[in-house]
């Protein structure tokens, strides 16, 4: 009988082959208990949670996860594999924080909790995992290596090998996560121009800003960075591209590799430590929220001042332009678009209206509402590589909603979302295009057809 009840730790003992020593380990110990007490168990956050909406299981909801983490911390339950599963399935999209009226800081519970949970996984097994070794640690932090790898991909794309892979399902034969990475890669295109160290304002100078170019962004989305710089210039900004900047460290931090993340942060703090800039501009939501989080993710006093100063200057490009007063392009574009809220913009940074305000000002652009616009598309950092099933369900739902709007372009301001939605539309052979708002605005300034840029 017992084989029918595999989940039960109550009626049948946990399988002895369980890979983790669970009894003495308590990842909640390092969490400020007050954060748990903020939760009044009202459940108002549940529908905001993509994983709960998909599974209907309270264990996969914010309220449930908080309850589980607290129960582990209190010693009421062990950190068994079920509890782990529910916590791993969290997208860390922070949609629940936006929904919670009590101001529960969910990110401050799940992130350290998972960090501890991940640390617990045998470090040896982690570094011997090809994904961690070659991709996370080997590729992401190094734009140059990334460029080489992508060069190969570009050749493959030129030869249409990628389309072939997709069409024949050959990618499934690759190691699973590598296969997915291959299919996630959007059409790689060369940028229209090169980013210079200093790019002067066009027209009357209104501000001087530094652009954070990121790691993946600078390679996969080189054109978007170029477009962003151009849009800033058009808005009267001197744009500086500081040297020595690199990966923001978010992916590492969120996959439980704190140390490299700290190193990357240090490099960025140094690169941007200059008084002559009004703002540090970032066009990728995920990196943006990480950069803003530099202020409180670490607790050492020495760097506190530098971290705070840095974080205070970080601005999402839309946030910045809306505040500055957007100078809209003159030439009309005649296109119907919709806008998907990247979690790390809407929920982590609370930037929702600014991109819309700006998009609406582009002449000839009709912006239509996207149902469930702030529900995660499934990208969520590396989530789409690790939790493929849930990620796919979410992106299917997202594409369905996009289809309903009748828009021909969906705009979103995060590299993960761009890739995830673009992959889904390729899988489903949907004609809708996916684009960063900066690329669209760039097209308007430069009289180009947006369809050539997405």
């Amino acid at each position: 009988m017992s084989e029918y009840i595999p989940q039960s730790d109550a009626m049948t003992p946990e399988p002895s082959s369980h890979s983790l020593p669970i009894t003495s380990f308590n990842p909640g110990e390092k969490i400020d208990y007050e954060y748990f007490l903020d939760c009044v168990h009202c459940g108002l956050c549940t529908q905001a949670c993509p994983t709960y909406v998909m599974t209907g299981n309270e264990n996969d909801s914010p309220r449930g996860r908080i309850y589980l983490m607290r129960a582990v911390t209190d010693g009421r339950v062990d950190l068994n594999k079920n509890v782990r599963r529910h916590l791993e399935l969290c997208l860390d999209c922070r949609s629940c924080e936006t929904a919670c009226p009590s101001g529960v800081q969910y990110g401050r519970l799940i992130e350290p909790f998972r960090l501890e949970m991940e640390k617990e996984i045998d470090t040896a097994s982690k570094t011997s995992d090809w994904f961690h070794k070659y991709i996370l640690f080997g590729l992401f932090p190094y734009p140059k290596r990334l460029r080489k790898a992508l060069g190969l991909a570009r050749i493959a794309q030129t030869l249409k090998l990628d389309t072939l892979m997709m069409a024949t399902g050959l990618w499934k034969l690759l190691p699973s996560r590598l296969g997915r990475m291959a299919t996630l890669l959007p059409r790689l295109r060369k940028a229209d121009g090169k980013l210079e160290h200093v790019m002067p304002a066009i027209g009357k100078r209104r501000a001087r800003v530094a652009l954070f170019t990121g790691c993946v962004q600078s390679e996969v989305f080189a054109q978007t960075n170029y477009a962003t710089a151009h849009v800033l210039q058009q808005n009267g900004c001197d744009v500086i591209i500081p040297e020595g900047q690199g990966c923001c460290g978010a992916i590492h931090y969120h996959t439980g590799s704190e140390e490299p993340a700290v190193e990357m942060a240090a490099a960025n703090l140094a690169a941007f430590a200059r008084d002559d800039i009004d703002a540090i501009i970032i066009n990728v939501a995920g990196c943006g929220s990480m950069l803003k989080d530099y202020a409180h993710l670490w607790h050492d006093d020495e760097t506190a001042q530098a971290r705070n100063a840095f974080a205070a200057k970080v601005k999402d490009v839309h946030e910045f332009l809306d505040e500055l007063g957007f100078i809209a392009p003159k030439a009309p574009l005649d296109v119907k678009v919709t806008y998907h809220d990247a979690c790390h913009l809407a929920h982590a940074q609370k930037v929702t209206q600014q991109p819309r305000n700006i998009i609406r000002q582009i002449p000839g652009v009709e912006l239509v509402d996207l149902p469930e616009s702030d529900m995660c598309c499934g990208a969520a950092g590396t989530y789409n590589l690790t939790e493929t099933e849930m990620a796919d369900q979410l992106s299917q739902r997202k594409l369905g909603n996009i289809r309903e709007t009748g828009a021909s372009i969906v705009l979103t301001a995060n590299s993960g979302c761009l890739m995830q939605i673009d992959r889904e539309r390729r899988v489903q052979d949907e004609s809708v295009r996916v684009m960063h708002p900066m690329d669209l605005i760039y097209c308007a300034y430069t009289h180009k057809s947006p369809y050539d840029y997405c």
Binding site: H41, L44, Q47, G56, N57, D78, N80, S102
Partner: protein
């Protein structure tokens, strides 16, 4: 045994096996850690862990589960989103919990005949969202509407700010499909508002899951009003505000909504939403009138006059739809926001005749003083539904005692005023002891007989709502933070 002590399940493995065959292994939770999150709902003072949790997706599955429970003589109960504030989803005595959150289809929307058919797990707001652009909406709008299910709304006969004018859930339910406590599927009512026979669908509404498990609901759709005016009345004293409430109703005006928030709650809301509330005021009224555009300005002016006569400092108007939405968001999230004021809170849900709000407010404050408990207030003032919130520190046992005593006295005062101990949250397990104060032995006896017509062996949600012998087996924890609407 329940709660933390529950490490061993007492259910027969054969039953679990059968449940897994009915629903699929994927839809059955047996691990203690998985079931534990279902040990309480929005009411956290009492806890009881189900022995198994199942996620049916069809009516037939529910029927099969219930038949199995009957064969194994195991109690069972339905649960929606678990936002009950009365412990309605507490599985007393353990048993099987049917969680209906995977039944989320809106099956039909018929605008010509003004109804929709939904599965019980459809979240309230999703229906109104699905109706966007059609000119219709689903009227009952509990403050928890972003999370709670229509099945749960039916079970608790939910109200909301706008049910003052439009009526509570029962006024919007045309019919239900349900599974009886013995596992038989039946249907009461339907798209047509005049079914032949007894109004048993009406009886199902508000029965708190003790009569049958609702598996499908036919709801009425409501036309959006042509126009709306939303006002914010600012008062320097709560007495003036409550007098204005009773003057508005007394003048024969039924606004679409009439809500009161006192100073301390305003402070919390301001912190959460930066709405721009006048923090030096003692109370605000949120007043909304809707209907035919041609008549709205006159109604608004009349209300402004009444408020000013009652001593309002000023009456502001929502400038636009966005401003109005913000205002309602702030109002609906009021309770959550109070979480920012104190480490623990308990809310009551009493009702008094609506013109007696001023006296009731005085009484509440007296009781607060008597027990030395800080009380803040948010009222569905238009229908006399009060929500005094008692703030305290759960680490101090003497405070807990005083909070419980003060709460009891407030509800007794509601009864003395000819009111009720619950306007919308239900009896659940929380207020079961008040039933005897509100109802005679005959009343309760007849209620029990109605229940036994539907639920003869009392396996469906036992020991809820009616004070029967043996409502035990529940652990009473110290009241921790607890919200309400």
């Amino acid at each position: 045994m329940h709660g933390s002590a529950d490490l061993e399940s007492t259910l027969p493995v054969a039953l679990i096996h059968e449940l897994q065959q009915i629903i699929g292994v994927d839809g059955v939770l047996t691990a203690h850690s998985d079931r534990m999150v279902y040990e309480c709902d929005g009411f956290t003072i009492e806890k009881s862990c189900p022995d198994v949790v199942v996620f049916p997706t069809t009516t037939d599955q529910i029927a099969a589960v219930i038949q199995a429970c009957n064969r194994f003589e195991t109690p069972f109960l339905p649960r929606g989103a678990g936002t009950s504030l009365a412990g309605g989803t507490l599985p007393i005595g353990g048993g099987v919990m049917l969680v209906l959150t995977r039944m989320t289809n809106i099956e039909e929307i018929n605008l010509r005949d003004r109804y929709a058919v939904v599965q019980p797990g459809v979240v309230n707001i999703r229906l109104t969202q699905a109706l966007a652009g059609t000119g219709y909406h689903y009227a009952p709008d509990p403050s928890s509407q972003g999370a709670c299910t229509i099945g749960g709304n039916v079970a608790t006969n939910s109200g909301g700010p706008h049910t003052l004018k439009y009526g509570v859930t029962v006024n919007h339910v045309l019919g239900v499909e349900a599974v009886s406590s013995e596992g038989e599927v039946f249907r009461l009512g339907g798209p047509n508002a005049d079914p032949a026979g007894l109004d048993l669908a009406g009886v199902m509404v508000g029965s708190e899951g003790t009569l049958a498990v609702v598996t499908r609901v036919w709801v009425r759709l409501t036309r959006n009003p042509e126009g709306v005016r939303t006002m914010l009345g600012v008062f320097d004293s709560v007495d003036d505000a409550t007098n204005a409430i009773s003057a508005i109703i007394g003048a024969g005006i039924i606004p679409a909504a009439l809500e009161m928030v006192d100073h301390d709650i305003m402070v919390a809301l301001e912190e959460a939403f930066q709405f721009g509330f006048p923090l030096d005021a003692e109370a605000i009224l949120i007043i909304e009138v809707d209907g035919i555009e041609a008549g709205l300005d006159a109604q608004r002016d009349q209300i402004i006059d009444i408020c000013e006569e009652a001593g309002a400092r000023e009456v502001q108007q929502a400038e636009n739809e966005q401003h109005r939405q913000q205002l309602w968001k702030a109002r609906k999230q009021a309770f959550g926001a109070i979480g920012r004021l104190a480490s623990s809170l308990v809310t009551q849900d009493g009702v008094v005749p609506r013109t007696q709000i001023p006296q009731m407010y005085q009484k509440i404050m007296e009781i607060g003083e008597k027990y030395d408990i800080r009380i803040v207030n948010v009222f569905h003032a238009g229908d006399g539904n009060i929500h005094p919130v008692m703030l305290f520190d759960e680490r101090d046992p003497s405070q807990i005692e005083r909070v419980l005593a003060a709460g009891g006295e407030i509800l007794q005062a509601c009864l003395d005023a000819g009111g009720s101990v619950t306007g919308e949250h239900g009896i659940g397990v929380e207020k079961i002891q008040f039933m005897k104060q509100m109802f005679s032995e005959n009343d309760l006896d007849v209620m029990a007989s109605l229940r036994s017509a539907f639920n003869p062996n009392n396996r469906l949600s036992p020991d809820k709502m009616l004070p029967t012998a043996g409502a035990c087996g529940v652990e009473r924890h110290a009241p921790s933070k607890m919200v309400a609407q």
